[in-house]
């Protein structure tokens, strides 16, 4: 009964929102259109993005469009979180903090690369949850950046990386922050109802599995991390692999890792035909895309509907930007399709 009370309203609302997402036909039309301005026009005239792509945004610039769409995603998060209270509201706050972490990673990358940080590239505009944006942007190098995080929950996790080699720092930072995020998220699940806890644990478990494999792979290939380190950074509470199996992976080679994963349900990670490094992230997203897409076929009153919508929207935004970018770099329609999360191959008219 409690779940009906909690979800009857918000799930109906979410289903309406989901029905507004783009269809395959929209994707195909966007792909056919060559000019950015035509694509924007199409989105404005035929989709709900008319409310997002207002005239105060520079509509001839992919970056500013991307930013507007990203912020729209945050607004949707906040909107849906208003339907929840107490522990559920807290959960949404944690889910939102993922974008803060994404921004923070970007800041790290920018500072480590000596690049400039511009507010225009981030999800958040003003109100961060934990960090003080203005203070961070004044950092001249990564050590200062870490010190400027003092007083936030990230500092304690990152303070040991002062004076770390720049080439590896961003990888360390990413792992550490993701680890922190999943730990907090996982803990929060325990304060939810039994059904929701099981659903979220299952999803988080899959993320953890895939992240572990990805880290080990990248750790081997690009960063030359020690197996002991990789093992220590690995996340607990995954679905498929226990500590012993993770340890085996950490102490194996790239070839063995590949062979091992190809025997599991995550074999899509190492799709032999294409460039592995390029498609790994995409394949992970495709995996979750179909998982979230299927959520709407169930008629249950649980948290999966809202979570799924938010992720579908996130993926759709990524796809739209990919399509827009592909025109800029003159990628063919056929090739662009390979880079999209939504699978539209074979559905051409």
């Amino acid at each position: 009964m409690a779940s009906v009370k909690r979800y009857a309203g918000v799930n109906t609302k979410t289903r309406v929102l989901k029905s507004r997402l783009l269809k395959k036909a929209d994707y195909l039309i966007l792909l056919e259109l060559d000019a950015l301005e035509d694509q924007v026009k199409y989105l404005k005239q035929n989709t709900f993005y008319a409310n997002v792509l207002k005239d105060d945004i520079k509509l001839n610039d992919v970056e500013s469009i991307e930013l507007a769409l990203k912020r729209y995603l945050l607004i949707q998060y906040k909107k849906l979180s208003k339907y929840f209270s107490n522990e559920y509201a807290k959960l949404y706050r944690i889910l939102l903090s993922r974008f803060e972490i994404e921004d923070l990673k970007q800041i790290f990358r920018a500072v480590a690369g000596g690049g400039k940080i511009s507010k225009d590239n981030f999800y958040f505009k003003e109100e961060y949850l934990n960090i003080d944006y203005n203070k961070l942007t004044k950092s001249n190098n990564t050590d200062e950046l870490i010190n400027n995080l003092k007083g936030t929950l990230y500092y304690d996790a990152l303070k040991d990386y002062v004076a770390e080699d720049k080439s590896k720092l961003t990888f360390y930072v990413e792992m550490t922050m993701d680890k922190l995020y999943f730990k907090i998220l996982y803990n929060q699940c325990h304060d939810l109802s039994k059904e929701d806890k099981d659903i979220l644990k299952d999803i988080i478990g899959a993320y953890i599995d895939l992240l572990n494999v990805e880290w080990i792979y990248r750790g081997f290939k690009f960063y030359d991390l020690m197996p002991e380190e990789l093992f220590n950074y690995s996340l607990l509470n995954g679905n498929e692999f226990d500590l012993k199996e993770i340890k085996e992976m950490c102490y194996s080679t790239i070839e063995d890792l590949k062979a091992y994963i190809l025997r599991t349900k995550y074999k899509f990670l190492f799709d032999e035909e294409k460039d592995m490094d390029l498609y790994m992230e995409l394949n992970i997203e495709k995996y979750f895309y179909s998982l979230y897409k299927n959520a709407f076929k169930r008629g249950k009153f649980d948290i999966l509907i809202t979570i799924s919508y938010l992720h579908l929207l996130e993926y759709e935004i990524k796809d739209i930007i990919s399509i827009m970018e592909s025109k800029r770099y003159g990628v063919s329609i056929e090739d662009t399709m390979n880079y999209l999360i939504m699978d539209i191959k074979g559905s051409e008219i």
């Binding site: 996790a157 020690m226 002991e228 093992f231 220590n232 690995s234 607990l236 012993k244």
Partner: protein
């Protein structure tokens, strides 16, 4: 009636007097302040212009609002801080006779604030270092021992020694991977937030080990160089330092309790003054000021006017004006005799009567007590309600009062019905036994309902007269037309029963038709009488559609409203019926003890469940059948500015 007469009071005084005038107003506890600035802007701040007060009148044009003095907030913070440091929890004496000025308060407070503040800061730092020391102390093992002094470990060249804390998860990973880690790892102690480990590894592996430990989020515990000796000795050293620090803290705490003795009274005294000042600052938001004068407006009960005047007369050059005329809506202050007072809560629950309206409390009190008693008439159970009401009134005076009055009424009806705890064979019935004459009881209930509804009609017309509302009073469905219509309907119904006409049927029909027509055409009729044009408002067709539908509703509500009162009789019957049911169950059990238990449980159930239902049903009758006919309840409550209430 029971709504107190109000008068508007305007005060103009010298700005120097403001604090003490406001204090007097607060002490009087009978002025409902309203925004003086609004009054001035609406040109309602009126007084006679004479030569001697011409300046006051001129300055009125430059009136502005008061700026809140933030200084008092800061003083309050300081006072609270001191109270916190000295562990003082009581509020202090409330005393309103003398009033210190701001500078006096600041001077008094600063006399001891810095001194105490400093000591408390000292205590804080000491406690922090004690905390750190305790943490360090707990990090050292109770049982594990190294057979050589730590300083020797520090000096090692080829082996690195480290001590630190690991989380549960990190510990698990370390354990699973021992064989790959080139270090001696010794678990030495457990603390609240992690496990303490000691590690030795070849110094050439320093970089690798650093990376590994970092990936485990290893929190190193550094042992200051000043500590020497084995673990056991170091632990002793730390323990001693801890004890010294604890002693020091004890001394400081002693100083603080000395401060408490010395300054408690003074601090409470100052707290009181700061609170008063804050309250006055709060009140000033409603006041207006010019460079020389302040302006205050508020409603005062007429009865207390002279008393207030006397209190404020001591200020020279202060003008106090009372103004009873005007088109403003005064707030409502209810004044009822003790018997009725708890029922004011029920009236408030629906809405405060407006100033021009009759206070419905007396009628509600009497009718509600009557209805409750009639539905729940039982000498014994009534007595229980009375007792619980008396008990309750210690905690919640109003609710307790309500309960005890309802209990009393229930007892009275209990003697009428001859019922004690459900038993009908202990005392004789003075009037009737409901279960033995069901029809009479139900008929009586309807008659009671008709009488109550008729009273409601009368009150409605009185209210319309007080509001000078011709339209509703004469032609409205709760006005004269409605009443006539209702009476004729009753007469017709009675004729049907008795078989003889009181009013000639054709005449009845004519009156009914007339009433209905007047209800439909009430707006144009009124305008015709008042000689106002146009006869209708903007939307003529809308008006007629609405009035025809409301006619239908009137007809229905008259019938259903009257029949609705049957529940009074029905519940009187249910009350007995319920008990009979329990009595039967009791008899079926067969032995005396079981019987007694069932009867006791039955009584409790009846008291709780039926008592609640009757309480609600009675309220329903009051609100829906009666209030809806005569009572609007859109008034504002009189809220005097006072020192007690936090507002």
């Amino acid at each position: 009636m029971a709504v107190q007469k109000m008068t508007m009071m305007n005060i103009i005084g010298n700005i120097e007097d403001i604090d003490s005038v406001v204090l007097d107003v607060l002490k009087a506890n009978n002025v409902n302040l309203i925004s003086a600035l609004n009054q001035i802007e609406d040109n309602k701040f009126l007084f006679n212009v004479k030569d001697e007060n011409l300046e006051k009148y001129v300055e009125l044009n430059f009136a502005t609002s008061f700026k809140t003095d933030m200084e008092y907030e800061k003083l309050k913070k300081k006072v609270l801080e001191l109270k916190d440091i000295l562990h003082i929890h009581e509020d202090g004496i409330k005393e309103y006779e003398t009033i210190l000025t701001k500078d006096e308060i600041i001077a008094e407070l600063n006399g001891f604030y810095d001194e105490i503040h400093e000591v408390s800061e000292d205590l804080k730092t000491k406690k922090e270092s004690l905390n750190a020391l305790t943490n360090l102390y707990n990090s050292f093992p109770e049982t594990t021992e190294i057979p050589f002094p730590v300083e020797k470990l520090r000096g090692l060249t080829n082996v690195t020694y480290r001590m630190g804390k690991l989380s549960k998860e990190a510990r698990l990973k370390l354990k699973k991977n021992y064989e790959n880690i080139l270090a001696i790892v010794i678990h030495t102690a457990s603390t609240k937030d992690g496990e303490i480990y000691m590690m030795f590894y070849p110094s050439i592996l320093n970089e690798e080990m650093n990376r590994i430990l970092r990936s485990l989020n290893f929190k190193e515990i550094l042992i200051p160089d000043s500590y020497r000796g084995s673990y056991k000795e170091i632990k002793q050293q730390i323990g001693e330092e801890k004890r010294t620090l604890e002693k020091e803290i004890e001394v400081v705490e002693g100083t603080i309790s000395k401060y408490k003795e010395d300054y408690e009274k003074k601090l409470l005294f100052l707290t009181n003054h700061v609170d008063i000042k804050l309250k006055i600052e709060d009140i000033k938001e409603k006041l207006a000021r010019s460079s020389k004068y302040f302006y205050l407006s508020g409603w005062v009960p007429k009865k207390e006017k002279s008393q207030l005047e006397a209190a404020l007369n001591k200020y020279k050059d202060t003008l106090i004006l009372f103004n009873e005329e005007g088109d403003q809506h005064p707030p409502t202050k209810l004044k009822n005799i003790r018997l009725f007072r708890p029922f004011e809560t029920l009236v408030r629950l629906y809405g405060m009567p407006s100033y021009e309206e009759i206070d419905p409390t007396p009628f509600l009190s009497l009718s509600y007590m009557f209805l409750f008693g009639a539905m729940f008439g039982d000498l014994g159970q009534g007595f229980v309600i009375l007792l619980s009401g008396l008990l309750f009134s210690r905690k919640n005076k109003l609710f307790g009062g309500l309960l005890s009055r309802l209990g009393l009424s229930s007892m009275i009806f209990g003697t009428f019905y001859g019922a004690v705890f459900g038993f009908e064979d202990i005392i004789p019935a003075l009037i009737i036994r409901p279960f033995e004459s069901i029809n009479t009881i139900l008929m009586a209930a309807i008659v009671v309902g008709i009488v109550l509804i008729l009273i409601a009609y009368t009150l409605s017309m009185v209210n319309a007269y007080k509001r000078k509302d011709l339209e509703e009073g004469l032609f409205g469905k709760e006005g004269l037309a409605g009443l006539l219509f209702y009476l004729i309907l009753l007469a017709l119904a009675a004729s049907k029963i008795i078989g003889r006409y009181f009013v000639h049927p054709i005449l009845s029909l004519a009156i009914i038709l007339l009433c209905l027509l007047s209800m439909v055409f009430k707006q144009p009729l009124t305008n015709l009488i008042k000689n106002e044009r146009p006869l209708h408002g903007h939307d003529i067709s809308g008006y007629y559609v609405e009035s025809i539908f409301s006619l239908l509703e009137t007809l229905l509500s008259m019938l259903s409203g009257t029949v609705s009162f049957i529940r009074v009789g029905a519940f009187a019957l249910t009350h007995v019926g319920l008990f009979i049911a329990f009595e039967t169950i009791g008899e079926m059990i067969g032995h005396a003890a079981g019987n007694a238990i069932v009867l006791i449980i039955g009584n409790i159930l009846i008291l709780g469940l039926e008592g609640l239902i009757v309480f609600i049903q009675g309220l329903r009758l009051e609100y829906y059948e009666m209030f809806s006919r005569y009572y609007k309840g859109d008034g504002k409550e009189f809220e005097p500015a006072s020192l007690d209430r936090k507002k």
